[in-house]
C-alpha cells in the first residue's frame, strides 16, 4: 500500500492531446453535481463514505457503507472509469481491490500499477502486466490526482462478503476528505463539436449508378 498525499500536488499540466476527458470545473463541495460522473457496472451506496470496493471480475452484491462498489474487468476503459469517479468525489480516500482477477486483462494488477507508477507519455500504464494497459481518455494530471487522493488496499482473491464488509467498516470514516476540490471530467465525445468538412477523395462505394460514397469522409455524393 502507498499513502495518499493530502494535497500539494504538482501544478496541472496540459492534458495529452488525444485525451477524451477534460476537466471542466472544480467544485466547492466534496462531490461534484450528478456524481458519479461516469456510468459503469457499479452501485453507489453512501457517497460520503471514504472507501470504494472494486470486485474485479467477480460480481457481488453491494455492501453497506461503501461509497461505491462494482466490478472492473478491463485494464483500460475500466480503470479510466475508476479514476474519473474517484477524483470527482474527494470523500473517497481508499479503494479496496478484491474479487477474482480478470484473466488476461489483469485489471487488478493494472489498477495497482497505475497508482504506483502512473502512465508514460503514450498513456501506457507503467509496469502493468495487463494485455492492453492504456489510458486514452484521462489527462495525465487527473491520473496524478488519483494517485495522490487515494490509498489502495490490495485484497485480490478475496470474495468473502463478511471479510470485505469488515474492511469497509474499518475505513468508511477513516481520515478526512482530500484537501483539494473534486474534479469533474467531461467527455469530449459528448460535446457538440463542429468537425471541419473533410475533403472527398473519391467515391469507393456505389449506392446507385451515379450516387457514390466516400467511405473515409462518410459523404454520399452525386457523381458529376
Amino acid at each position: 500500500m502507498t499513502s495518499p498525499s493530502h494535497g500539494g500536488g504538482p501544478e496541472f499540466e496540459s492534458p495529452r492531446a488525444h485525451s477524451g476527458l477534460e476537466i471542466v470545473a472544480m467544485f466547492e463541495d466534496t462531490i461534484v453535481k450528478d456524481w458519479p460522473s461516469v456510468r459503469g457496472d457499479h452501485t453507489v451506496v453512501d457517497p460520503v463514505s471514504h472507501i470504494c470496493v472494486v470486485t474485479l471480475a467477480s460480481d457481488m452484491e453491494p455492501l453497506e457503507n461503501v461509497c461505491m462498489m462494482g466490478s472492473c474487468k478491463t485494464e483500460n476503459l475500466g480503470i479510466e472509469k475508476i479514476i474519473a469517479n474517484t477524483i470527482s468525489n474527494i470523500n473517497i480516500r481508499y479503494i479496496l481491490i478484491c474479487g477474482q482477477e480478470s484473466r488476461g486483462h489483469l485489471s487488478g494488477n493494472t489498477l495497482l500499477a497505475v497508482h504506483e507508477n502512473g502512465i508514460d507519455e503514450h498513456g501506457r500504464i507503467i509496469s502493468s502486466q495487463g494485455a492492453i494497459p492504456f489510458i486514452e481518455n484521462i489527462p495525465t494530471h487527473a491520473v496524478e490526482r488519483f494517485r495522490q487522493q487515494v490509498e489502495l488496499i490490495d485484497k485480490r482473491g478475496l470474495v468473502d462478503a463478511k471479510k470485505i464488509q469488515a474492511i469497509v467498516e474499518e475505513y468508511r470514516s477513516k481520515g478526512e476528505p482530500f484537501s483539494q476540490p473534486p474534479l469533474i471530467l467531461e467527455s469530449a465525445k459528448k460535446k457538440k463539436t463542429h468537425s471541419p468538412v473533410q475533403e472527398i477523395a473519391h467515391g469507393d462505394m456505389m449506392i446507385a449508378q451515379d450516387i457514390l460514397m466516400d467511405s473515409a469522409s462518410g459523404v454520399i455524393f452525386v457523381e458529376v
Binding site: 488525444h18 480478470s102 488476461g104 503514450h122 494485455a131 492504456f134 486514452e136 462505394m205 456505389m206 460514397m213
Partner: protein, 310 residues
C-alpha cells in the same frame, strides 16, 4: 445499400466462404461455446463440461445453417491450454465448421496454435486475435504454426477514433513498429478477417461499425465483429434486464443486423444458445441486403437465404 468499388476478397476456411460484396455471400455466424460462466462448463481450468449439452448446442447451430443458408463457425473460449485442447478435440469431432480459438491469455492462444498444427486442425482454425498487445513470442508461435487465418483486431487503446484504428492496421500508429496487417502477413496469415473491436457504446461502438465500411473500401478483406458486446456492456440495459429479460435479448440479437448493414461478413454473436434467434434475423437482413443491391452487380451465391427462404 451499396457496393464497394474495390474488389472484395472472399476467403475459404474449411469450405466456409467469408467476404465479398454486400448481398453476395450470406453472413457467417459464430456462436461462442465454453464462455465465461457457461452453464455447461463445470471446471473451466481443466475443461470439464457436459458433453451431451455441448453436442446439442453445436447441432442446433449446424441445423440452423442448413435451414437458413447462413454458414456457421464455432467460437471457443478457453482459460487454459488444457481446457482449449479438450474443447478443440470435442468441437472438431462434432462439426465440420471452422473453429475460432480464443483466450484472454496469449500463451493459451499460442500453445493452442501449436497444438492444432500438430493434430492437423490448422486449416479449420481461426486465430482470435492478433491485436495491439501482440508479442514476439506470439509472432514466433504463429509463424511456426500452420494457421493461415486470423482475426486482426482494430482496437487502439491510444486512439480509439477511426483514424487510430485504421493506423493500427496500416502502420501500427503510435503503438506498434509496423501495422498489424504487415505483422499478420509475416506470420503467414494469408486470410485476414478484420474486426474493428466493439468498444462499449459511448466509447466508440459506432466508430467500429464505420471502420468496417472503411476497411472493406480500402483493403477488401472480410470484416466482422462481436457486435453483441455493445448492448451486453450497456449499463442502462442491465437495469432494464432486471425488469424484463426480453428487452436485453432483443437488443442483443438486433445488434447483428446493425453489423450486417455496416457491411459485416461475419459476426460473433455471443452465447451459442442465441443461435435460434440470431440465424433468422441474420437471414432476414441478408435477404433484404441482397435485394437492395441486386441492380448494382452483386449477385447472391447459391444457397443464399434469398433463395432458400423466400
Amino acid at each position: 445499400m451499396f457496393v464497394f468499388q474495390k474488389e472484395q476478397e472472399i476467403v475459404n476456411i474449411a469450405n466456409v466462404k467469408i467476404g465479398g460484396q454486400p448481398g453476395e455471400l450470406p453472413t457467417v455466424l459464430a456462436g461462442t461455446i465454453f464462455y465465461n460462466n457457461h452453464h455447461i462448463v463445470t471446471d473451466p481450468l481443466q475443461g470439464v463440461f457436459n458433453r451431451k449439452d455441448a453436442e446439442g448446442l453445436i447441432n442446433i447451430q449446424d441445423t440452423l445453417s442448413d435451414e437458413t443458408g447462413n454458414p456457421n463457425m464455432v467460437h471457443i473460449y478457453a482459460h487454459t491450454f488444457s481446457a482449449a485442447v479438450k474443447y478443440l478435440d470435442f468441437v472438431s469431432e462434432h462439426t465440420d465448421s471452422p473453429i475460432l480459438i480464443d483466450s484472454t491469455e496469449s500463451k493459451v492462444r499460442t500453445a493452442t496454435a501449436s497444438y492444432v498444427s500438430e493434430v492437423g486442425l490448422a486449416d479449420k482454425t481461426i486465430y482470435n486475435s492478433l491485436n495491439m498487445s501482440v508479442t514476439e513470442d506470439e509472432i514466433e508461435a504463429l509463424t511456426i504454426s500452420d494457421i493461415d487465418t486470423a482475426i486482426i483486431l482494430g482496437f487502439n487503446a491510444m486512439d480509439s477514433g477511426l483514424n487510430g484504428r485504421m493506423q493500427l492496421l496500416e502502420d501500427g500508429g503510435k503503438v506498434l513498429p509496423k501495422g498489424l496487417l504487415e505483422i499478420a502477413q509475416e506470420c503467414g496469415i494469408k486470410k485476414k478477417l478484420i474486426d474493428p473491436s466493439i468498444t462499449p457504446m459511448g466509447d466508440g461502438a459506432g466508430v467500429a461499425l464505420r471502420m468496417c465500411i472503411t476497411s472493406k473500401a480500402k483493403y477488401g478483406h472480410p470484416v466482422g465483429s462481436g457486435i453483441h458486446n455493445a448492448p451486453s456492456s450497456w449499463n442502462w440495459l442491465r437495469g432494464k434486464k432486471k425488469e424484463d429479460m426480453l428487452v436485453a435479448k432483443i437488443c442483443d440479437i438486433a445488434s447483428t443486423g446493425l453489423q450486417q448493414m455496416a457491411a459485416g461478413d461475419f459476426i460473433l454473436f455471443g452465447p451459442i444458445e442465441n443461435a435460434k434467434y440470431t440465424f433468422p434475423l441474420a437471414a432476414m437482413a441478408d435477404i433484404m441486403i441482397s435485394e437492395s443491391v441486386a441492380d448494382l452487380g452483386s449477385e447472391p451465391v447459391d444457397g443464399h437465404p434469398v433463395y432458400k427462404l423466400v
